[in-house]
Symmetry: none
Subunit: 206 residues, 4 copies
Amino acid sequence: MATDKKQHIIEKAIELFSEKGFEGTSIRDLANKAEVNIAMMNYYFGSKEGLFQQIVETRMATTRDKIEEIAINKTLSEIEKVDLIIELYVEGFLSQPGFHKMIQQEMLVTKREDMHEKLINTFIQNTNNFNSIIEKGIRKKAFKKVDAPLVFATIVGTANQVLKSKKICNVFIGHNKNYEPYKDTSFKERLITHIKQLIHAHLLNK
Amino acid sequence: MATDKKQHIIEKAIELFSEKGFEGTSIRDLANKAEVNIAMMNYYFGSKEGLFQQIVETRMATTRDKIEEIAINKTLSEIEKVDLIIELYVEGFLSQPGFHKMIQQEMLVTKREDMHEKLINTFIQNTNNFNSIIEKGIRKKAFKKVDAPLVFATIVGTANQVLKSKKICNVFIGHNKNYEPYKDTSFKERLITHIKQLIHAHLLNK
Amino acid sequence: MATDKKQHIIEKAIELFSEKGFEGTSIRDLANKAEVNIAMMNYYFGSKEGLFQQIVETRMATTRDKIEEIAINKTLSEIEKVDLIIELYVEGFLSQPGFHKMIQQEMLVTKREDMHEKLINTFIQNTNNFNSIIEKGIRKKAFKKVDAPLVFATIVGTANQVLKSKKICNVFIGHNKNYEPYKDTSFKERLITHIKQLIHAHLLNK
Amino acid sequence: MATDKKQHIIEKAIELFSEKGFEGTSIRDLANKAEVNIAMMNYYFGSKEGLFQQIVETRMATTRDKIEEIAINKTLSEIEKVDLIIELYVEGFLSQPGFHKMIQQEMLVTKREDMHEKLINTFIQNTNNFNSIIEKGIRKKAFKKVDAPLVFATIVGTANQVLKSKKICNVFIGHNKNYEPYKDTSFKERLITHIKQLIHAHLLNK
DNA sequence: AATGAATGAGGATTCATTCAT
DNA sequence: TATGAATGAATCCTCATTCAT
């Protein structure tokens, strides 16, 4: 079925875009990697940029919706919400490192104005949702008076930093360069623990 | 003089590379921006990649040397060293946002193998220097037993996150989109304060 | 059909390469002459060098195979074989002067190492096949003890020399400069006769 | 002195032109090889083509004059003259293989019309001088009625053929590929002997 | 629905040459 | 006399895309 082939192309495309960047990846590369006809790429996605947008839009929405869900949840405490968001980011990033490297690149680059704008706006929405949680915690005297948006930047920034290079992670965990750190559960736990401890110490009274 | 013109080209190139990425920037673009002949670019730097390398190599060394200097300093306490490094990164990033965006992109991308390798190695050196400080603090019982490389990832990651987009920063500080947040001293202080508080709470006993 | 167009391009390319040499011929020239798009050239042949190799490889093989065939033939006498090879070279050179001028140039030039190597090796194979004929003739006392590889050099060298310039040939045969000597049957016969007489006198006992 | 430096440049240029052809050699290459400034090449010789012409014109004249001298000599017999010309060509070619490879290329190529024309005309003059010797020999009944211009083509062609590639010669004389066959005196003698025997058998009555 | 053929625009780079000093 | 700096033109090639089938 066509959807299968599309999905296959998308997965291969994420690999390449994340390794080489948008401009650094040619349609030829993408077609070869996905083992489909070059003309087919345009037939399915309209253009290289179309393919890229399709990838981004479907996947970004998921994270955004989950954060919103957490933010408006009435049964969780604020610190539980913060912890969930930490887990959400770390698990999301480590399970789809290619996609998130791709997003990081696109956030840095202003070339494709529209795409850049969308990503920034989504990030701002996520920040706002996070802020509202923190502010509620502060009002409840559960949290210290912290700089909420920068706390969010710390969480996302730390996870992103780990994503930058497998090699760096392997140095951290003492493996050789061919090891796949992102698939290592104990590394994931270590990262989550670090961020939680950090944020808790910063956030919680006492 | 030739050095002046070279320096001029380099500065304009950083702007473009940081906005559009390496592949996204053409030699034509670079030449136009610097208002020099296209052939001139190759005359001075050999190739587009040559220009890029020249930019990176000269500037990366500075940061690396400063961190090393701090690490081996005998008169500073460990927490003073950590604070200095935080200041060093924030000030470095905010004073040369274009250059550091460029570096971030290049760390994400593995296309230019050599360049990528160099950046990663430099980052690992910096991490090691930072680790040695933390470990000394731990041995002296000044610091809690923390995950030193991830602490470093947090510092750099937070600063990088802020660098991702002016627009995000302007939302944080309540300015419109044309404001230059990286030149705003109070924003810089706010960022330094955030990271220091965060790290202190995480690191210090009591 | 695609093969037709490819063949058309190849024929036009031989004309240009033989007139101007490999470096002296630009892809633009080739595309104009063949009346196709510049990008088309690379689409079909990968590169200028790819086109060149394709031309050389297909045509060189023909001559080499024919000589080998003659060498191993069991019904012909040695002098008949030598005569056939003389005819083969003269007829081959005069019927495809452009191609053989091209080959001559490439044998002189060491710039494209691979191509050069291939041509030399083919020539050595041909020489060896020729040598084996001569040596057999010598053993049978049909031939004098001659310097076989240099005899071959004389045959090929004489034919090549004639190929160097139409103008020279026209002086030989008393025509003006626009005449096409290579298509003149009596000139071909004259050349064959000359080489045969020369070689016979040198080779045959009595 | 300037003449020395010019001479030095010319010698290095012959090496490169003979290896890579005229178009295949850049002014940069030439300047590097001769270890002089790039601008200097144009300063001395006006242009790349100017350098090339200067090389050709000075050296071609020498051979032409020598042949003419032999042709008009009154004390030598015709067969002595033919032998002298054979020696002249073989020695000339083997002592300056680079230069003569260069000339061969230029004779094959019609790109630089003027240069090509000059070479052809010189060759025709040489042929005519050779013809006059042969015809005189025929009138004197010393020589058979041979095809004089093709006899000349055979002499020059055989020598040229040997010049085509060192590697081929080394196969003939059983040396490895790094040997310098053109400097080997016994190879030179072998070549002269071959051509003389060949031409004598063809030319002389009985 | 799918694809081989085709192409205009633009990519980086190298060219021979000129100019100011 | 000699040369580093500079450049317009041309190099080969790859790009994303379109089109006819």
